[in-house]
Structures are given as structure tokens and as C-alpha cells.
Amino acid sequence: MSELETAPVPRRNMELLLLLLALAVAMGAYYLVGINSDDGLSQEFISQGLILVGLALVFHIVLRIWAKYADPVILPVTVALNGIGLAMIHRIDLAKTDDTAFRQIMWTGVAMVVAMIVLWTIRDHRVLRRFTYIALAASVLLLLLPLIKGLGVEINGARIWVRFFGLSFQPGELAKITLAIFFAGYLSSNRELILLAGRKVGPLQLPRSRDLGPMIVAWLVSIGVLVVQRDLGSSILFFGLFMVMIYVATARVSWIVIGTLMLVGGGTFAYLTMSHVTRRIDGWLNAFDPDIYHAIGGSRQIVEGLFGLANGGLMGTGLGNGSPYMVPLANSDMIVASLGEELGLIGISAIVLLYLILISRGMRAALGSRDTFGKLLATGFSFTLGLQCFVVIGGVTRLIPLTGLTTPFMAAGGSSLLSNWIIVALLLLISHNSRRPMVSGVSATAEVATKAPRRSPGLLAPRKGAQR
């Protein structure tokens, strides 16, 4: 077996300990927001806090029953991020006399319950491989939903929402999951073909044109999303997802080169022909130009975010003491700026490191997974989370143009919470399956056994001796 195999130890008690720590952080943040507001601690502190604690503990018990060997770090980190996000949303609510936090805690509940149902019904992620093409169909359907008249609505210039029964939802967030499933399924089945066929040109092994199919689908989906729905962020996210999965499946750099070229081509085309992309880029390059700052759809949002971050500085103003509400969309797209202002560089760095831990644990699950499908799926999901964080933080800090992506688990928004919690559930399942005791007999992981072993210690893998 692979050296990446760790001894099958459940480590659920460790998870409980970390979970309590995470809840303490989240409740602490909530408490600080309460005591620093003019009205003092509110009723919501108790009710919303208890809901979060209850949900987290139930989730923990569900893991004890159905995914005993799952990674013990993933759930606590996610709960901590979700909790800090809730506290910040509540804080912005207080400044704007709004009630987004209540909706957010409801969505958190829905998302965690759905995630638990996913854990309970799927048990083994390999089941999903059967739904490869159904997942593709589902993805296309989800992406097309907002375009249906009467169902889809346009908010802030992007047509990525559907509304029914008074609830608005972003189906594209779920498409992220179904597309990852499709690609993991397709690539794990056709990997050899793609790997072996093709011509070599210089140092690059070019794939056969017919194997380029999925790549072209990926590119078309991304550009389609960008053109039709005017959603730059999701477009980048989907493209990144496909690129990384094809790269992991084939280990060929040529894919990255081709993909990057196509991305540059598509991006240039979009900049030159599409007004909202042009505006984004101009707002990014000349953010501090007063004309662009004051223009409608100009750079006010990003500039105010930067002012907020600068106001926070190294130490932050302290929760409840800054003025993050001055930034447009302070509790959703710009929540990173809000957190950076009140928690300072130190606090926001800690949050960024939490994401890094989460993503690393996801990657670790991918490394340990005994089947190609699991590896691809876990890598795809983890990378998506990472890319999403980068696009958001890079956008807020003006490293790259600002796009309307949500900060996973933190930003106000139900669809994003739901899809990210499902991703967490699937990562937990994959890690559970990679760490649980082997059933005797040849498993579906035969290919891994011939391919995977390498003489290097596993990424972030605890040393065997250090285990209990």
C-alpha cells in the first residue's frame, strides 16, 4: 500500500477538542461584537450562538456515526470560519439596522443539514462516479436556469440568480460541484487514453484533438458564463477547476500552457468587447482617479475597501470599533475588507491561514485517496476553494481586478454556504474513505498502488511514530 496510508485511527476526540476551540473563537467574536455595540449584548447572541453550537455538535456526532475516520481538522476549521463570518455579518447588521445575520444562520443550518444528509446518503464518494454524465447535464441545467424568463433575475448587472417562493439562489454555486464530479468521472475513466495518445512537439506532449473535447467544453462553459451571465468571477473559477483537474489527471504541463493561452485569448477578447469587463479592468488600473471613483459602477467599492483595510492597519480597530459599513457590500463581496479593518493584518492573516489549513487537509485527502476519482474530486474541490480565496483577497487588495466572488463560508449568501458545506461533506467522505481500515481483497485502487508510491513523506502527513 502507499506510504501515504496512515494508521486507521478515528481521531474524533481530537476533532471534538478542536471544534470546541473553534466554537469558542466564533462565540468570542460574537460576544465582542455585542459588547462593543451601543445596545450591548443582544438576545441574538444567545439564540444564534446556541444554534451554531448545536449544529456543530450534531455534525460532529454524524461524523462519529457515518464517517468515523474522516479528517479531524476540516470540520472545526469550517465551523470557525463560518462563525467568524456570522459575527461580522451581525456586526454590519448592527451598523445598518439590518437582519442579514438571521438569514445567514438559517442558511448555515440548511447547509449543514444538507451536508449531513450528503454524508448519510452517499457514504462512499465513489458512488458519485456513476453519475458522471448526469452531473454534466445537471451542470448545464443549473447554469441555464437563471436565463429562463420569470425564474432568473438580474442583480448588480449579473444574471446569475433564480428566485422562487421569494428566495433567491445562485445555481452556479452548485454547478461548481456537479462540474467537478463530471470532470473527475470523465478524466478518471479516460485518463490513459489522454495520456498515451498524441504527438510530441518539442518538450510538449500535445493531446489528440479528439481528447481536447473536454477542454473545449470547459472553455466554452467559462466564456459562456462570462458572456451570457456577465459573471467574471465564476468564469475564472470554472476555468481554474478544469485546468487543475486535467493537469492532475495527466500530469502534463502542456495542458496548462494551452489553457493559459486560451484564457489570455478569451480575456483579451472580453476586455476589448465587453463593457462590464472593460469597466472592471479600468476601475482596477485607475482606481484612485476621482472620475472613476465617482462613476456609477466605478472603483468606489474597491477604494473604500482599501481605505478600510488601511484604517485597520496591523492590529485592527477591534470588532465593532471600525467603520466597515462604509464599504459597499461590506457583508458579502467585501467581507474580507471588513474583517481586515476590524481584526487587522494579524487577524485577517490568521483567517487566511485557516483557509490554507482547510485546503491543505483537502489536498491531503486527495493524496491519501485510494482511487483516481477521489483524488481528482478532492483536488478539484480544494483548489476551487483556494482559487476562490485568492480571487477575493486579490480583488479586495487590488492585486487583480475585483470580481463578484464570495468568500467561502464567511460572506453573506445562502447558495455559496450551501455549496461549500456540501464540498466539505464530500471532502470529509473522501478523507474518511482514504483513512478507514482496508477491506481485504483487491480494491478499486489497484491503479493507485502501481502509480502512487514515491519516496517522499506525504504532504502534511503526520509521522507514523507521532501517532498516538
Binding site: 481605505f307 488601511a310 486527495a366 483524488k375
Partner: protein, 487 residues
Amino acid sequence: MNQAIRNTWIAVMLLFVLSLGALSYVQFFAAKDLNANPLNNRQLFKEFDLPRGAILVDGKPIAESVATDGQFKYQRVYTDPDLYSHLTGFYSLANGSTQLESVMNDELTGQSQDQFFDRLVNLFSGKENEGASVELTIDGQLQKFVYGLIPDGTRGTIIVSEPKTGNILAMASKPSYDTNLLAVHSSKQAAANMKKLSDTKDLSPYRNPAIYNLIAPGSTFKIFDMVAALESGQYTADTVLKNPSSVILPGTKTPLRNFYGGNCAAIPEASFAEIVAQSCNTPFVQMSEKLGKAPYEEVTERFGFGQQVKIPLRVEPSVFPPDLSPAELGQSVIGEFNVRATAMQMNMAAMGIANDGVIMEPNLIKQVIAPDLRVLSESKPKEFSTATSKDIADQVTDLMRGPVKRGTAVRAQVPGLDVAAKTGTSVVPCTTDPCGPPLVNSWITGFAPADDPQVAVTIVFEKIDFKTGSSLTSPNLKKILEAVFNQ
């Protein structure tokens, strides 16, 4: 395959390093620049949550910050806003701040040099920085009285000052406005109120007419002519001057006439003193031909023309145009052509003559008081310039007694009080077609008692008909002097 996953992880690591790097840059390295960016109004927001010092008149606040439950912790409240609007200005999030609220901002927010140690102590004790209060030299009763003398619907300014100290006792203008309207927290409401006020005829909420409006000074400019003439040594009060009813401006065919109707028509020849008393124009034009433009340029500059005066509100510099042709000079010496002066400038002219030729710097601030009532700074009388010698000043004073005793300002006579003053009327060029009734700017500037001046008073009404204008200048000077000297 695992190697590819590891590489992917490394790629993610790189993205996170970039993210952390960008955050560090924004929050640490670039933070100072971003905080100082002109588009950044977070500093202002912070200010609105701090107790701002009051502006005091006679020890009572005319502008103060009152704790509220609104968007910010404090609301700026103005007492008698119409009376003081042009002095205090307003302190507003949406419209910025103006006048004293702007000029004295450091003191009012506790950021001035004098409060450095208080800030240091607060830093360690954790107390909020509190702003200092600013007490004005204004005499509340007098301010109210002079404000009442300006009829609603006119554009008038009255300034009363102490020539010996430069302290301004009253400075009022109409049209005025309610500063509270602009201090509201809601930016929407503030913007709507601002629009309404800006649409008010003759009113700009951003400008204090007493120190901003540049008006042709008319015959009040003759104060400078007297100084120039006496300094030249070629003239004395008794010098007999020709007084034709009109002169042709040098190098042109344009005649310049004495003021219509007045007493000047009856005297073809008179002493300099009589000419001043009746404010005849033609002798001054002939005088300017003889003296040339240089003395006038020097005198006006010594009196403050073209200079930046801060009281500490910024006074718009008055203008005596350079490079005048003899014809233009002829018009300029009677305060027409492109000569422009603020009411403050003409008050300084009276102050200079009154104070033996030395102009004391006009000043509105009496003292700055810390929240614990310590006096942080007290303003001391400062010389602005030596405009002329004591001897010349005394002679001009004597000449300026003329108009009040027997000339154009007889209506300013106060029994038992020795008053020196000079009136002025400048023609407002017609801008409408047809012209409508002719309009003038009506002036008087002077001081009393002439032998030991206690107050210098300047009154000006802009764009008003001649009759109303002259009935609002000399008679009002009389009323003010009566009020000041309790007669």
C-alpha cells in the same frame, strides 16, 4: 498523480503567499498613504464621533456638539445661527466645513499643538481626545444690534472693530441662513438643504460677504488719496483746489463729472478740507495727474491691498490694479474702474487712520480654552502694518471730521461725540437689458471718538438704489455709535 497534486498544493501556496503579501502591503506599508488619501473620509467620520469644542461668544456657546443617538455620537448645534452663520460657518459631513469650523478645526478637535500633552495623557489613560473651545472677540449684544440694522432683502455688511487691538466686535451680513440646516447628519437631507440655500438670491453659504465680496469702494477710497496727497508734501488741508464740474480724463475725450446733484456744483474752488467734506471728484482726478500712479500703489499696499489677511478667516485680498494708464488712474482714485475692496479692507483703512497710522491685525479669536477650562492660548494685539505716520494720520482724521460735521455724512452726527468718517458711492455697471433703475454700492467707514478712537465702523450695502443706500449708511453709523457709547 500524487506529484501533480503536490504541485497543485504548491500552486495554491503561492496564491496564498501572494494574498498575504497583498494584505501586508495594503494594511501595513501603504496604510499611511491610503489614510491620507483625499478620497478617504473615514477620518472625518471619526471626528463626528468625538466631542468637538464649542465656539463661544461672551462665554456662551453659539456652536456646540450635543450627544445624540443618531448615526454619529454628536450633533453640531448652532444657537442664533442667522446672526453668526457667516462667522461660524457650518460643520457638515456632506458639505464639508467652512469659516471658523474649518479654520479652527485643529483646536476644535483637540489636534492643535497646544493640546499635544493632553493627547499624550489621553493616549495612556484611554480617554477620548476632547476638542478645545474657541472664544470670539465678538460682543454678542452689539452683533445682534448691527444685524438688526440690516433690513431683510438687502445685501449689507456691518463691521465694528477696536482700532487699538484689532479685535472685531461685530461682523454681520445679510442675507444669512440657518447653519443647523447644513449640519444634519443625513447626507441626503444636507444636500437638499444646501441646494435650497444656494438657490436663495444673493446667498452663498460658503462665503462670508464681509471678507469675501470685492466691491468698488467709491469715494471711501479717497482716504488713500488723502494719505498720498498729504505725504507728497504738495497739499495740506488748506490748499485751495479747482473744482470744475467735469474734467476730461487724460488722453481721452471722456469727461468725468462730480456726483450729480450734490453740493460740489456750487463751489468752483475750495479748500482740500471742503473738497473732502463734500466728496467732490474732479479735484482728486486732477491730483492724480499730478502725483502719478506710484504713490497710490504704495499707499494701498501699506493699507493691505493685495495682501493675504487672516482674521484667522481668510480675507479675500483687495485689488488696486497695476499698470494703470492716467485715464484709468483718474477713475481709480475715486474708487471706480477695477478697484475692488472688501468691507474688511475698508474697515482696516479706518482702523489705520484711527490708530495713528498703525493697523492692528484684525482678529476674531479671543482665546482657546481646554475642556478643563485652562486657557490654552490668548490672542495678543499684533501690528499688521504701519500704513502711514502719526502726523499724516492726524491730518487725515481731521479731514474725515469734515463729512460728518458739514458734508456727506451729516446724518451720522452724534451730539457730543467727535466722529470721523468717509462715505462712498460706486456705480454698479448695468448688466441687464433694459437697465432698470440705476444701482449703487453704498459705503461709510469711520471711527469715533476721533481724538481717542475706540471703535472703527464700516457699513456697506451692495446693489441698492442710491436713496435707500445713503439712508442705511450714515444714519446706521449714528445708531451704532449711540449704542456703543450709550448715548
